[in-house]
């Protein structure tokens, strides 16, 4: 994200000129707004971290202890013993990564077909897919549960209820992804593709060698958005998964809280462990995440 310049600065000068030379702070007055705002934004994270290294007695102390006398990391192994956070993390990672890869592949293929082929019923099929964009998940949730149950019993066990496969298959392609990539592919100059076709390249090769490399920004945006959605999804895993070993991070954390509802130090240690992977991923790829979210906002405008 490009650093912004200060649009208000000339206005400030104008004001200063009008009212004569005024006394000025040695720093931008905006700090006076931004520092308290940042404290409020950060405080929940900080308090979470502090509680996680306190003893239960310190956590329940009145007045609250802002700086623990000694760091007690014992809550972490204890939380790990109470619930398999490593397993939750692994499940979430597998679900998110496979969902992203499936989306990139399937949405790119379908988006390309809709962008470049004109065949009987293509317009109708595209319109049908687009209508699902408006439907809230709650409308499809119950049939999706029944279909997933049926898939697990009659088709592939690993895609059924109580398997992480059930969290991947229904989201392996999305109407949004197809729409998004189709729109992007249509902005690409068709001459490259035609030239490659004349040289005898297959459609698949054209997609793989020419279209996809040119679409890196769109693909990374779709990947980032799909990843966030998959990682934070709660309602569908809640319905589809009962077995602890197949739970993702949010579901595992909710389950853990149910079992240890007032052991705050333990809960916060568990919460920190569930947060850290996403925080690391988020800041490692911050540029992509921010750009993707900004892009959806600007696309909507």
């Amino acid at each position: 994200m490009a650093a912004s310049s200060a649009p208000a600065a000339p206005a400030a000068q104008a004001v200063a000129l009008r009212s004569g030379r005024r006394w000025r702070l040695p720093f931008s007055p905006w700090h006076l707004v931004l520092i308290p705002a940042t404290i409020v934004l950060i405080f929940p994270f900080a308090w979470l971290l502090i509680t996680s290294v306190e003893t239960p007695a310190e956590a329940l102390h009145f007045p609250p202890i802002l700086i623990p006398h000694q760091l007690d990391f014992g809550n972490y192994p204890q939380a790990l013993q109470a619930a398999p956070f490593g397993r939750f993390f692994l499940n979430s990672a597998v679900v998110a990564v496979v969902t992203v890869l499936c989306n990139l592949l399937f949405c790119a293929m379908a988006g390309y077909a809709f962008a470049r082929y004109r065949f009987l019923g293509s317009g109708l099929l595209f319109a049908l897919i687009m209508t699902t964009l408006m439907v809230p998940f709650q409308v499809t949730m119950i049939p999706q549960y029944l279909i997933t149950k049926w898939l697990g019993i009659h088709v592939v066990g690993a895609f059924g209820l109580n398997h992480i496969g059930a969290l991947i298959v229904p989201n392996a392609a999305t109407a949004f992804g197809i729409f998004f990539l189709r729109q992007f592919f249509r902005t690409l100059p068709i001459e490259y593709e035609e030239a490659a076709r004349v040289d005898g390249a297959s459609r698949l090769k054209v997609l793989w060698r020419i279209v996809l490399p040119l679409s890196a920004p769109a693909l990374s945006t779709l990947a980032a958005l799909t990843f966030i959605d998959s990682w934070n999804n709660f309602l569908w895993p809640l319905i589809a998964i009962n077995q602890t070993s197949e739970m993702t991070v949010p579901l595992g954390l909710a389950n853990f809280q149910g079992a240890h509802s007032t052991q705050w130090t333990l809960l916060m240690a568990g919460n920190v462990m569930s947060l850290i992977p996403m925080i690391i991923i988020f800041f490692a790829a911050q540029r992509y995440f921010i750009r993707s979210v900004a892009a959806t906002g600007l696309a909507g405008t």
Binding site: A8, V33, L41, P44, F106, Y117, V135, Q138, F282, T301
Partner: protein, 293 residues
């Protein structure tokens, strides 16, 4: 198109289209059928009962409450998030020291899942040991029950979700602010407009497309509020935080209800509300939004 090309097109389409037909299109039809049936998982037959499920909603007092809570929540959460996001984005849209620290603090709220967020806020707002009540104590305000109080729980959920969405709103508004050409604000300032006038007359109108997007997007999400309610209050105390999606979930999967017929009717009702609200927002928005070029 040649048959070979036809075949190639369908080969490209098949995986994605099959998934969307199976999990996107078919369920829309299926749940419409379910909403016309008396259907719970344990009854062997599922007779069609016409609009009985929809009629049941009219006489269900909890539905009326759930609609009320959903609308109150939405009416507070959406403007709240937009105002916080706009204020912070304007404050952060300048080159000053530590600006990346400030921005990062806002972005960080995007990395936290709804469940992690709710867990932290349950602790912050714990009636006996929470730090918020301690701050109230210091400020001389009487101790509150927060999530355990029927009159306060929904507002605590408003606060926690505004916090959770701050990063998103800031990113959208910052991107829009950076798209505003500086010449416009500079020209106005040279013409003698005060900073507030420049903001009201130039910046705010140029941000209106972003505001419309945020309003629609946040509203759709607010009407579907579930995670925080499920996790922090389970609809209580005394149904005071039962919102539509939570009630729907309870009917379908909570306890041993598996009341799929009734839950599907509620889902379609929710769908209707979302469509109506979104259409109204776009209609009104189109009149108020200034698109450049």
């Amino acid at each position: 198109m040649r048959p070979r090309e036809q075949a190639a097109a369908w080969a490209f389409l098949t995986p994605g289209v099959v998934i969307i037909l199976l999990f996107g299109v078919a369920p829309v039809v299926w749940s419409a059928v379910l909403s016309l049936q008396r259907n719970n998982l344990f009854s062997p037959n599922t007779p069609f009962v016409g609009l009985a499920n929809y009629r049941q909603m009219i006489h269900d007092p909890v539905i009326a409450q759930a609609i009320g809570h959903t609308l109150v929540y939405t009416a507070l959460f959406v403007p709240g998030t937009m105002i916080v996001g706009l204020f912070l984005a304007v404050a952060m849209n300048r080159k000053i020291r530590f600006i990346s620290v400030y921005r990062t603090a806002a972005y960080a709220t995007m990395a936290i899942s709804t469940i992690s967020e709710a867990l932290v806020f349950i602790w912050l707002f714990d009636p006996s040991y929470g730090i918020v009540n301690y701050l109230f104590h210091v400020a001389g305000i009487p101790q509150q029950q927060f999530l355990s109080s029927p009159s306060e729980a929904l507002y605590v959920i408003v606060i926690m979700t505004i916090w959770g969405w701050t990063g998103f709103a800031v990113v959208v508004y910052l991107a829009a602010l950076q798209g505003i050409p500086q010449v416009l604000t500079e020209a106005a300032a040279i013409d003698g407009a005060s900073r507030w006038t420049v903001f009201r007359r130039i910046t705010l109108p140029l941000l209106s497309p972003a505001s419309l997007f945020l309003m629609v997007w946040l509203t759709i999400n607010a009407l579907q509020l579930f995670d925080e309610v499920y996790f922090s209050t389970a609809g209580g105390p005394l149904n005071s935080t039962t919102v539509l999606v939570y009630y729907l979930y309870e009917q379908a999967f909570g306890g041993a209800n598996f009341n799929f017929g009734y839950a599907s009717a509620i889902a379609y009702f929710l769908f209707l509300i979302i469509m109506v609200v979104t259409v109204i927002q776009f209609r009104v928005g189109r009149r108020l939004v200034h698109y450049r070029s």
